[in-house]
């Protein structure tokens, strides 16, 4: 049985968010190119029946994927519903995700996605 195609992206955490992710700042992830429209974040495994893959993996998927696979503590400091909690900046290749379609941005091979917690101290 063939493995679904994947793409490699780089994820980085900053501003303290790395503390929620085992204090590891950089992750290189292999994620599926296509995901089911109502996908769970569990990566498709070889033994399960293949899901219907119809939608490109987007940042909303990535957020869920990170939460379910790499987030180690206090999920409420990272996610709120289907998106990041207020005060977290999401960057697509050094550009605010607002300019790229936010959660609907379809991930591309080699993308660098950065999650940065805005700071309040002074």
């Amino acid at each position: 049985m063939s493995t679904p195609p994947t793409l490699t992206i780089n994820v980085e955490f900053g501003g303290g968010l790395e503390l929620l992710f085992a204090n590891q700042r950089k992750y290189q992830l292999s994620i599926p190119v296509l995901i089911p429209p109502d996908t769970t974040a569990t990566p498709p495994s070889g033994s399960a029946p293949p899901p219907i893959l119809s939608k490109p993996a987007d940042i909303t998927f990535l957020i869920r994927y990170l939460k379910e696979n790499h987030l180690k503590e206090r999920p409420e400091l990272f996610v709120e519903g289907e998106t990041v909690r207020p005060g977290i900046l999401v960057l697509v290749n050094d550009t605010d995700w607002e300019l790229e379609g936010e959660g609907d941005y379809a991930l591309k091979e080699g993308d660098e996605i950065v999650f940065i917690s805005t700071l309040h101290g002074g």
């Binding site: 700042r25 207020p86 900046l89 050094d94 309040h120 002074g122």
Partner: protein
């Protein structure tokens, strides 16, 4: 306070090294002399910012803070010292600033900033520097800067990290609420986080630099945020930001705004001032 378009001979000597910069000149120095900047927070960010604004010859500086100097401040708040522990930070900082430059006007504002006094206190200045240490005041400053139409040079520092962003600069400049329409839900704790002094120094210093660029007309006004991580490699990252959002609850277009500004956005739940539930209507004036 307008001294016209002349500079005393003494000032040529004092500010000559910056006046010979291309794009600066006599007109740049006169702009600084006529400018007023208010620094909100005389702590880790405010101290270095005040220092370089005063040294550069900004004509009038406001210092807002209601805390007193504590020993634990001294590892980073470099205008305060062992002798000024217990003194109001505003007085301690003003003393240091006057020593750096006796010829500028320094205003000392030792009262907590709230939605009741923000407009009155900030309206006299050309530029606002956010050197505060809490989210509610950051929202209060952003909303007030929008209402008053003034640029807000915002700095933040925590642990090994720092951030710098200029809000509400020019007609297209975004505000804090364009990025984050509502404040992060407070997690209930306000415990102090660690902070390396030199990190606040770098960011506070850069805040002074941004203010000087805005005053002298050297700012390119591209919306961006600078992210600093003292242990990172590379340590600095610049992020492209968009323009002002029509849907922003603070600076957006009437009829297109999404979300609301709540008075409790400005309240610290751990030791801040008691909320005043009478809304101030800072959103549009």
């Amino acid at each position: 306070m307008d001294k016209g378009d002349k500079l005393p001979l003494e000032d040529y000597k004092r500010y000559g090294r910056q006046m010979i910069l291309e794009g600066f000149g006599l007109s740049g120095q006169l702009k600084l002399q006529k400018a007023s900047v208010v620094v909100v927070g005389a702590g880790g960010l405010g101290c270095p910012a005040l220092q370089y604004l005063a040294a550069a010859g900004v004509g009038r500086l406001g210092i807002i803070d209601h805390d007193v100097v504590e020993t634990s401040n001294l590892q980073r708040q470099i205008l305060h010292n062992e002798q000024t522990v217990g003194m109001h930070k505003t007085e301690s900082a003003a003393q240091a600033v006057r020593k750096i430059n006796s010829r500028i006007k320094v205003d000392v504002i030792t009262e907590p900033l709230s939605s009741l006094n923000a407009t009155r206190v900030l309206q006299d200045y050309d530029i606002i520097l956010d050197c505060t240490d809490n989210t509610p005041t950051r929202y209060l400053l952003s909303d007030t800067a929008v209402a008053l139409g003034k640029p807000l040079v915002s700095g933040a520092a925590q642990r090994f990290h720092g951030q710098l962003c200029v809000y509400n600069l020019g007609p297209d400049g975004l505000c804090l609420r364009c990025l984050f329409p509502r404040p992060p839900t407070q997690t209930g704790t306000c415990e102090e986080t660690g902070i390396l002094g030199a990190v606040t120094g770098v960011i506070g210093n850069l805040q002074a630099l941004e203010a000087i660029k805005i005053i002298t007309g050297l700012h390119e006004k591209e919306p961006s945020m600078l992210i600093f991580s003292a242990l990172g490699s590379p340590p600095f990252r610049s992020i492209k930001l968009g323009s002002k959002k029509p849907t922003c609850p603070a600076c957006g277009k009437e009829g297109k705004k999404i979300g609301e500004i709540h008075e409790f956005d400005y309240v610290q739940f751990c030791g801040g001032p008691a909320p005043d539930w009478e809304t101030q209507g800072l959103t549009d004036s």
